[in-house]
Symmetry: none
Subunit: 224 residues, 2 copies
DNA sequence: ACGAACTGTAAATGTTTTGTAAAGCGGCGC
DNA sequence: GCGCCGCTTTACAAAACATTTACAGTTCGT
């Protein structure tokens, strides 16, 4: 699901935009000041930014400039109040992709968002999704609900093995041999411990596994 | 961001020019006498100089001449008071590129600055930016927050490799082969040592890396 | 040829991961 | 519902891995 980060200090507007974006099947995130917006824009890696020009902390202008200076290419739509002096040159300089003047209509903003996303998402890298998790195999990055999850090597290897063998009963011995290799002979309980860690990091509710299932007396089954 | 060094002994003017330049998205620096102006023009490597003709210490005329004698090509705009006798011949002699007579309008100065930058900045100079660092690939010069950072050859090569492979897990072996070549076989700890040095010189806070990240059990990842 | 700077390595230190053990829970057969 | 057996969970110490610092050999420029 496409993440959109809304950076605006007006709480009402954030709420309105949030509802609107959710209704359009986007996944909204929020920041109320420039600094936290900047941090989230980097850590969250959203597909698009909606940035108010006037912000406490770092101004919207500086935020955009800083992101671009840091080679962050995330598409940006600037939200400007009716009084603000905004010209295309400034927007170009600060690296914004589009702007819209408040107050604006839902329909118009959605149209601009979709248009911008359409022209800025050319490539489809190898990203495997299941539930609300995304695994970017090439970049070795795992996101859960859009938030980066740090996986230790063994955990990551185990996850990849599950992804490659979905919907199939997998015995502990098979898992051990495939993920740990024939050279090392750890206890089969080891697999359990790592499954627990994966569940904690990736299951919506670790107590009620919906993806990393136990097959009593056999082993595990991964359900995407 | 383009650095402009203002060399003038009039504090009011410096302040005014500073605000003006900042508003126009330049990064202003200041010197109040010829000698420190000369030093900064060399150490700071600004994109452009604004130089008052009448200066304490080294005069503006000598400053320009000395810079040019030292093969410093930085574009120079001379600021002259209304009484000063300035003719094109003098400007040509001392190596200035343009001049403007005080008092001048903001708009005019900005126009001249942009015009001069346009005709003196060759399109070929490739400057890569990330966070608050700039890497001038052609001249092998690296700036952090506008200040030159001296990188040893190995450090510089490693940095360039990171710049060309952002946002990707890079194993120590890959790094060694790419940066050191297949002929030499240093210890993989060597990579760590150089990453430490890069972090110390380029990370805002070397203890909390935000750009040269560790992937435990794998290697490193460069995030611009 | 001298001193300064660079570089790879090693040793000490700090951090994260990982396998295991032990205790508690829960499903399954009866 | 009971009890067994296997699964989950927690905690932890050893191992693996990363960082830091120091240093000696080398290179480089003057």
């Amino acid at each position: 699901m496409q993440k959109i980060l809304v950076i605006d200090d007006d709480e009402n507007l954030r709420e309105t935009l949030g509802l609107m974006l959710e209704r359009e099947n986007f996944l909204p995130f929020f920041a109320s000041d420039g600094n936290s917006g900047y941090d989230q824009a980097i850590s969250l890696k959203p597909q698009l930014l909606l940035v108010d020009l006037k912000l406490p902390g770092m101004s919207g202008i500086d935020l955009c400039k800083n992101l671009r200076a840091g080679r962050v290419q995330t598409p940006i739509i600037v939200l400007s109040a009716i009084g603000d002096e905004v010209d295309k040159v400034l927007l170009l300089e600060i690296g914004a992709d589009d702007y819209i003047v408040k107050p604006f209509g839902t329909r118009e903003l959605i149209a601009r968002i979709r248009a911008l996303l359409r022209r800025t998402t050319p490539e489809t890298s190898k990203v495997i999704r299941f539930a609300n998790a995304e695994v970017d195999v090439e970049r070795r990055i795992v996101l859960n609900r859009g938030v980066e999850v740090k996986l230790a090597p063994a955990e990551y290897n185990l996850l990849i093995f599950f992804l490659h063998n979905p919907d199939r009963p997998l015995t502990r011995d098979l898992i051990l041999n495939s993920v740990w290799g024939y050279e090392s002979y750890p206890n089969t309980r080891t697999v359990d411990a790592h499954v627990v860690r994966l569940r904690q990091k990736l299951e919506p509710d670790a107590a009620v596994p919906r993806h990393f299932l136990t097959i009593h007396g056999v082993g595990y089954r991964f359900l995407p």
